[in-house]
């Protein structure tokens, strides 16, 4: 067996692969999240039933609020498997860097939420008869950056919530205020692209700044949070 005092590499990839594999195997969480996302879309469609013109104005907001709910359900699961048998202790005792664990979890969450979004989007398009009047390709960077904004902070706050009572409610409680600028940017960018009235450029730049700032903050502070007894 090889052993050295050097920091092990490939931990992020190994952890991400393990998480994806386990998720695929059990499909429990995945199935319930998928169904939940479908329900959210249907409920929204009943609650907000405008004609095609108005829908383009509010769809940006609706879609992202729906994604936010789905994301919170996914994020609350982030550390569920690790909690069961105190696996985090095994991680902390090993020389593997805390940030590798964080990145693996954040990327895993990113994948899950993107899967949910990919499922919910066609339903929204259908129910609201949506069509992008602006440059539709811009929706991809908006979705990617917006999802990462929610997921990176969500994974971090999920780790903080591990050390609190009422864990499931603490996560959205901590996440929502801090996510407000990102939400504003996502919603406005999406609305701008759907209505074609304004440029989404500023919002995309804002989202990128938000993502960079908070990814760095998470990476700097995660080790402290992981090791808080």
């Amino acid at each position: 067996m090889s052993k050295s005092s050097a920091v092990p590499s490939g931990v992020t990839a190994a952890t991400l692969a393990k998480d994806l594999r386990l998720e695929w195997r059990s499909k429990d969480a995945l199935n319930s999240m998928l169904f939940f996302s479908l329900l959210v879309v249907v409920v929204f469609s009943f609650s907000f039933d405008p004609n095609a013109e108005e829908s383009r104005q509010i769809a940006g907001g609706l879609v992202w609020v729906a994604f936010l709910f789905a994301a919170v359900v996914a994020l609350n699961q982030t550390w569920a498997r690790e909690l069961r048998n105190h696996v985090l202790d095994a991680y902390r005792v090993s020389p593997a860097p805390a940030n590798s664990l964080f990145m693996a979890k954040a990327l895993g969450n990113f994948v899950f939420v993107v899967v949910l979004e990919v499922l919910m989007t066609p339903l929204f398009i259908m129910f609201y008869k949506l069509r992008a009047l602006g440059p539709a390709w811009q929706l991809i960077p908006v979705a990617a950056l917006g999802t990462w904004a929610l997921v990176v902070n969500g994974t971090f706050f999920a780790a903080i919530s591990l050390r609190t009572r009422s864990r499931e409610i603490m996560l959205p409680l901590l996440l929502f205020p801090v996510s407000i600028p990102a939400l504003l940017a996502m919603v406005n960018a999406t609305t701008a692209i759907l209505t074609g009235e304004l440029s989404a450029k500023f919002w995309i730049v804002l989202l990128t700044t938000y993502d960079v700032v908070f990814t760095i903050a998470c990476l700097l502070l995660f080790e402290l949070v992981l090791n808080a007894e």
Partner: protein
């Protein structure tokens, strides 16, 4: 055992709010010994092990392992086994070891680790379906993955059948002969009689007695 001390605890206090789990532990442990840590519930045995594993920071005092007080730099030389299994219930034994091996930078096959503790590496059953004895063995295998110089085992024999327990003790004796330093917290001290180099009695957060003979240390 006049080898230089491999672990030194100096005036270690550990507090959880108002509860003092460790109240001034001063001790040296020589390399290559098998130490049994005994004591009643709440004596501080688990906390002591967690402090050594750098899972808990002492409120006061210092710990030195392998010559350094920076415990994080010697993590690759430590193996830790706790009362919870520290394993993923959803994966098989081999998958668990393979993953945890990656945390130590081990990319080779981990099958030898499983056979060493008496488990079949080809088992595809998830760990959730293991018996307690199998789970404890796998947990031990995980602690041994990185061939650590120091092994910290918290109640490895709990809920394990007598034969498995004896096999584990034999394995620990083997490891000790190979030069490892082993700490075993246990309520079943008799299992280690004749194997352990020293019995350490803890009471109310302090080490109150140490002796090669179990009888001298047990107070009942």
């Amino acid at each position: 055992m006049d080898a230089p001390p491999i672990i030194t605890l100096t005036a270690v206090f550990k507090q959880f709010g108002r509860f003092a789990a460790l109240r001034g532990v001063n001790a040296e442990f020589a390399a290559g010994g098998l130490f049994a840590i005994l004591g009643d519930n709440g004596a501080g045995k688990t906390t002591l092990l967690r402090v050594l594993a750098s899972l808990a920071q002492p409120t006061r005092g210092s710990v030195s392992i392998l010559g350094t007080a920076e415990l994080r730099s010697v993590r690759h030389e430590l193996g830790y086994m706790a009362h919870p299994s520290l394993l993923y219930d959803e994966m098989s034994g081999a998958e668990n070891l393979r993953y945890f091996g990656r945390l130590y930078g081990i990319r080779n096959s981990t099958d030898a680790g499983m056979t060493a503790v008496g488990l079949d590496p080809t088992l595809t059953r998830p760990v959730a379906q293991y018996s307690q004895g199998m789970r404890q063995r796998l947990s031990l295998a995980r602690a041994l993955l990185n061939d650590p110089k120091v092994l910290l085992l918290d109640e490895p024999f709990s809920n394990v059948d007598a034969r498995s327990a004896r096999e584990m003790v034999a394995l620990l004796a083997q490891m000790r002969s190979a030069g490892k330093t082993i700490f075993v917290v246990t309520h079943q001290a008799s299992l280690l009689e004749g194997t352990a180099d020293e019995f350490v009695w803890m009471e109310a957060g302090q080490i109150t007695n140490r002796n090669r003979e179990l009888r001298a240390v047990e107070t009942r």
